[in-house]
């Protein structure tokens, strides 16, 4: 019933925006020193009775929470783009090899104790893998879309095998790399947020520009081409945009699955399939979902932080199955 009432995009945007704000305030209050929403707001506006609260919020929690939202939004935007490009409801931000590349980059950085931090190495690895998959696919006889999927799957598996091999040979970095691969936001600060802000918005803007071509692709490449769409350019733009958004998130948070897969589906059930509507709603939903998952990840076994990817799957999975069961035209 709620889902039916939210049909209009503007009211959905408003509803999700307010929910996200409330979520942010609650999330800022959660931690070793619990704060009430009122205390959070006072600290945010530098109006708190205790300066230590301001320090907690401004120096520790705010950057992390904003980063969580940015990553959730970026991964969801990327999911929308890849699902649209591949016309495949199972596509996610890592479908063209970004996860395998990121994992290998991060592992190499850990194994060789390189001067490049794991995040940056993961970012570069993700982009390199996507570039390789893209160039193989464009020169293939199979039709670029099928070739992209196949090359992405093959390369991901190959790179994961190399990562496994490296980790077995160099056991001492195993925990460090594994924790990074599972994804999480422990200890993330303003510098990480600045890093992500350098790249993620660019990717998101590129995806945003491609919403109409994505609509045209819904009926297949031939049909889009008959409308005068340049397929090669479109594929390139979508892959660049989505990969930048994905890699930006990977660089600061590791590999977080599931958000980018399900946020677009939930968005479609709320506001329909037109990409100009699906995209912003997906981004808000992704931010919200990741915020929630991060909240669980850092509180359930505090002070130990659990991998956030575990909770995106545990929270998103059941909801996704619920939507499927209701037969609400997810796809």
């Amino acid at each position: 019933m709620i889902i039916k009432k939210l049909r209009s995009v503007r009211s959905t945007l408003l509803f999700l925006g307010i929910t996200l704000l409330i979520g942010l305030i609650i999330s800022l209050g959660v931690g070793a020193v619990p704060l009430t929403p009122a205390e959070v707001l006072q600290a945010l506006f530098r109006n708190s009775s205790k300066t230590v609260y301001e320090t907690i919020i401004w120096d520790f929690r705010l950057a992390r929470v904003l980063l969580v939202c940015l990553c959730g939004a970026a991964l969801s935007a990327s999911g929308v783009a890849f699902q649209g490009l591949f016309r495949n409801p199972l596509a996610d931000p890592f479908v063209v090899g970004a996860s395998g590349g990121a994992a290998l980059g991060a592992t190499l950085s850990a194994v060789f104790g390189a001067s490049i931090p794991m995040g940056i190495a993961g970012f570069l690895g993700a982009l390199a893998a996507v570039l390789l998959v893209y160039s193989i696919a464009e020169s293939s006889n199979y039709g670029s879309i099928a070739a992209l999927l196949m090359a992405g799957a093959a390369l991901s598996t190959m790179l994961s095998a190399i990562v496994t091999l490296l980790l077995i040979l160099r056991e001492e970095v195993l925990y460090e790399v594994f924790a990074w691969l599972m994804g999480g936001f422990a200890g993330r600060s303003w510098s990480h947020l600045r890093q992500a802000l350098l790249v993620a918005p660019l990717g998101i803007v590129i995806i945003w520009l491609m919403v109409r071509p994505l609509d045209a692709l819904a009926a297949g490449e031939e049909s889009a081409e008959a409308l005068g769409l340049n397929l090669r350019q479109t594929r390139f733009m979508i892959i660049v945009g989505a990969s930048l958004a994905t890699a930006a998130a990977v660089a600061v948070s590791g590999i977080i699955g599931f958000v980018g897969l399900i946020a677009p589906h939930i968005a479609r059930t709320l506001v329909g399939a037109k990409h100009a509507k699906t995209l912003p709603i997906s981004m808000l939903l992704g931010a919200l979902l990741l915020l929630l998952a991060d909240g669980f990840a850092r509180t359930i076994m505090a002070p130990v932080e659990l991998p956030v990817g575990v909770f995106t799957a545990l929270l998103g999975g059941p909801f996704f199955l619920f939507l499927l069961r209701k037969g609400r035209n997810i796809i």
């Binding site: 495949n88 109409r212 609509d215 031939e222 409308l227 005068g228 035209n329 796809i331």
Partner: protein, 263 residues
């Protein structure tokens, strides 16, 4: 006036040659039917006419220009194709889909203007879809779906409309409905139409001229009467049949016997 013309066209995919030496022309305001058995190359010819398949040899000319020299966007303003068997992976709304037909005019990034909206409204009205505009494409019947695809093509405001088996999975009522609509576009708007079509009786009834394809070669061109001779029907389709006027004055086909299929 010849609006679309091909010049000794050879067409193929990868290693395989599908159509050889096609020499056809379409005049403004006429409806041409592409007929022929399965695998004769009808879809391939349409793709080439739409500029989606690069010819091995020869050229397709739109008016005086080679179609391969046109920008994709300019091509789509003049020629629109309704491909066969389209399937939407996401449940877009009817009006969103029809609006995409304006992309060749408005581009892929600028917002649609009020003139785009009025074109969309007009074609929705013309195709009888006004009431269904907010309906999801996945909730339409076969006939409604086909009308949406035609409406999208019309929103391109093309000179030439190419249709690939537009009625192949429709019942007789919707077949007639769709073809009446297309014929009206030809008669009233002087649109030029090329339609690949399986049903020979429908082809004879609606088309001004027919092009008969057989094994990738064009083996007859002309009015339905000239093309659908008993001889052609026997050699190309392997049936003993003849064309006659039914009591209402439409062309119809009576099939007496099929020959054994031999390849």
């Amino acid at each position: 006036m010849k609006i679309l013309r091909t010049d000794q066209l050879d067409l193929g995919y990868n290693g395989k040659m599908v159509v050889k030496g096609l020499h056809m022309s379409i005049h403004q305001g006429e409806m041409v039917g592409l007929i022929g058995p399965n695998g004769a190359g009808k879809t391939t010819v349409l793709r080439a006419l739409a500029g989606l398949l690069k010819p091995r040899n020869g050229q397709v000319y739109y008016q005086k220009q080679s179609i391969s020299s046109l920008r994709a966007q300019d091509r789509a303003r003049n020629i629109s194709l309704v491909p066969q068997r389209e399937a939407f992976v996401w449940p877009l709304l009817v009006e969103d889909i029809v609006q995409l037909g304006r992309a060749p005019h408005r581009g892929w990034f600028l917002p649609f203007s009020s003139s785009d909206v009025s074109v969309v409204n007009r074609v929705l009205h013309l195709t009888g879809l006004s009431r269904l505009r907010k309906r999801s494409i996945n909730k339409l019947s076969g006939g409604e779906f086909q009308r949406v695809m035609i409406a999208r093509a019309l929103a391109q405001e093309p000179e030439v409309l190419l249709l690939d088996e537009p009625t192949s999975n429709l019942d007789i009522h919707h077949q007639i409905h769709v073809f009446d609509l297309v014929r009206k576009l030809v008669d009233e708007k002087h649109m030029s139409v090329v339609v690949a079509i399986h049903d020979l009786a429908l082809a004879a009834r609606y088309c001004d001229r027919l092009v008969l394809l057989h094994k990738g070669k064009q083996c007859a061109v002309g009015t339905p009467e000239e093309v659908l001779t008993s001889e052609n029907l026997q050699t190309v389709f392997g049936v003993r049949a003849s064309l006659y006027r039914d009591p209402l004055g439409y062309w119809a086909l009576s099939v007496k016997q099929t020959e054994p299929v031999n390849d």
